[in-house]
């Protein structure tokens, strides 16, 4: 396998996806949901068992983004979160009317209506970004100690790559962004670094076993990728199983969380092989050549 040699093919694929994603972000913008835009939270006591899909369909007719979930003892209450729209009050009154009519209930059944601000999502995201930044620095230091700095930097670049690919994917598919997306990003940050380390561990071991002189960094990386390929595919597949099941069978809020994770899992496996390893190999090669040049002089 000559993976490192063809690195520009792999880099180009990633860059193309990210550029298309950024284009979508600039032209259409990201589809922020209630957590980031604010909106209305309503709680209604239906008073009997009902099908939550009926209410979802009713709300959909008004062309607003909403989360609908069952609540209360015996699931007789409904919790509706509607993302903010220009004519908030009007839409909200219409939806309430629809529900009251359908289930034959009156105003006393409306348990609460409250406006929620967009701050929830904003603050959470800010904290998450700080936390990820600190985590990256600490992980870099750990990899530096256990491996060497080149491995650490390559792993962090792969991580940034995965977050960019996930963002591109939600921009292209117009998936709604709420706090679950932040959780999805965190999940992939954890997964991606894990995946990269396994390949790097093999490179480290092969280098120790074979000695630095016998193999170029390119050959070393190619060989290590080949040896860990079955593991990379199997681990990604099994994790994809669980998350795909959540995607297919889950409620809408789980779907918008599962989709970025599915993309991120594939991207995480891809970046370990096609991004992190070539970066390490070319960097190591260059350093070795510079050293050789110094020796000659």
């Amino acid at each position: 396998m000559k993976i490192i040699e063809r690195r520009w093919i792999w880099y180009s694929i990633s860059i193309a996806i990210i550029v298309v994603g950024i284009a979508f972000m600039l032209i259409r913008g990201l589809n922020f949901g209630i957590d980031f835009r604010g909106g209305t939270l309503m709680e209604v006591n239906i008073g009997k068992s009902y099908d939550v899909e009926d209410i979802r369909a009713m709300i959909k007719a008004h062309n607003v983004d909403a989360y609908v979930s069952q609540a209360g003892d015996n699931n007789q209450e409904v919790l509706i979160r509607i993302a903010s729209v220009p004519n908030d009050d009007e839409v909200q009154a219409q939806i309430l009317n629809d529900i009251k009519e359908k289930y034959g209930i009156d105003d006393s059944a409306v348990l609460s209506i409250e406006k929620v601000g967009p701050t929830v999502g904003g603050e959470l995201t800010r904290n998450a970004i700080y936390a990820i930044a600190i985590a990256c620095v600490l992980m870099l230091i750990y990899i530096w100690i256990r491996f060497e700095i080149r491995f650490g930097v390559a792993a962090i670049i792969a991580l940034v790559h995965d977050v960019l690919i996930m963002s591109a994917a939600v921009a292209i598919t117009n998936t709604q962004i709420n706090t679950p997306f932040v959780a999805a990003v965190l999940t992939i940050v954890g997964y991606s670094i894990n995946d990269t380390i396994v390949v790097f561990d093999r490179i480290r071991e092969n280098r120790r076993k074979l000695g630095k002189k016998k193999m170029s960094p390119f050959e070393l990386a190619d060989m290590s990728i080949e040896q860990t390929l079955a593991r990379s595919i199997n681990t990604t597949l099994t994790t994809l199983f669980t998350i795909t099941a959540l995607y297919i069978l889950g409620v809408p809020s789980i779907k918008e969380f599962a989709l970025p994770i599915m993309i991120g899992l594939v991207s995480g496996a891809y970046s370990s092989i096609f991004i992190a390893s070539p970066i390490w190999a070319t960097w190591t090669q260059r350093d070795a050549m510079e050293k050789a040049a110094v020796h000659k002089r």
């Binding site: 750990y142 706090t179 679950p180 954890g190 670094i193 396994v198 561990d201 998350i243």
Partner: protein, 168 residues
């Protein structure tokens, strides 16, 4: 429910792909899931969506540790080692990968726990618990069970997923 079907798919895949070790991994994985829920129940944590994400991720890592060991086991067996020696070598060699990959993720989990708010903290808690338990089940439970199976005298290499031996 959806999660259960996903886990069932993972169990089936491991069994079909890795045969006997796959079965062992399945037992270890079920032990793992039970332990995680036990710890979560013990700490009184409520499961939010990010919390579920943490569990899904750690299930992936628990499987990963097993996959790492089994791929090594196959390599060692193909190289003509005896079962016992191959098992020891496989665990010894896979350990550095398991440790380093889990510790880096653990670092991320701990930072998220201290700096995150609300649901992010929840994610961090399940992730940390998940990683700790998965290292234990992969390194201790899987190893013990595999040794047990080998001691029972199951020596046919085919059940370990090895097709041919290229003795050196």
């Amino acid at each position: 429910m959806a999660g259960a079907i996903g886990v069932a798919a993972v169990l089936l895949f491991m069994l079909l792909y890795y045969r006997l070790p796959g079965l062992v991994a399945d037992v270890a994985l079920i032990t793992y899931i039970l332990l995680v829920f036990l710890v979560l129940a013990g700490t009184g944590a409520t499961l939010t969506l990010p919390g579920i994400a943490g569990i899904v991720l750690s299930i992936g890592m628990a499987v990963d540790a097993n996959v790492l060991i089994f791929e090594r086991l196959k390599e060692e067996l193909k190289a003509g080692k005896t079962l016992g020696a191959a098992l020891d070598a496989a665990f010894h060699r896979a350990l550095s990968a398991i440790l380093d990959s889990n510790i880096t993720t653990l670092i991320a989990g701990i930072v998220l726990y201290f700096y995150g708010t609300g649901t992010i903290k929840g994610f961090a808690v399940t992730l940390i618990i998940g990683i700790a338990v998965s290292m234990f089940t992969a390194v201790v439970v899987t190893r013990y069970l595999l040794k047990l199976v080998m001691d029972f005298g199951i020596k046919n290499l085919k059940v370990y997923g090895v097709k041919e031996v290229t003795a050196q």
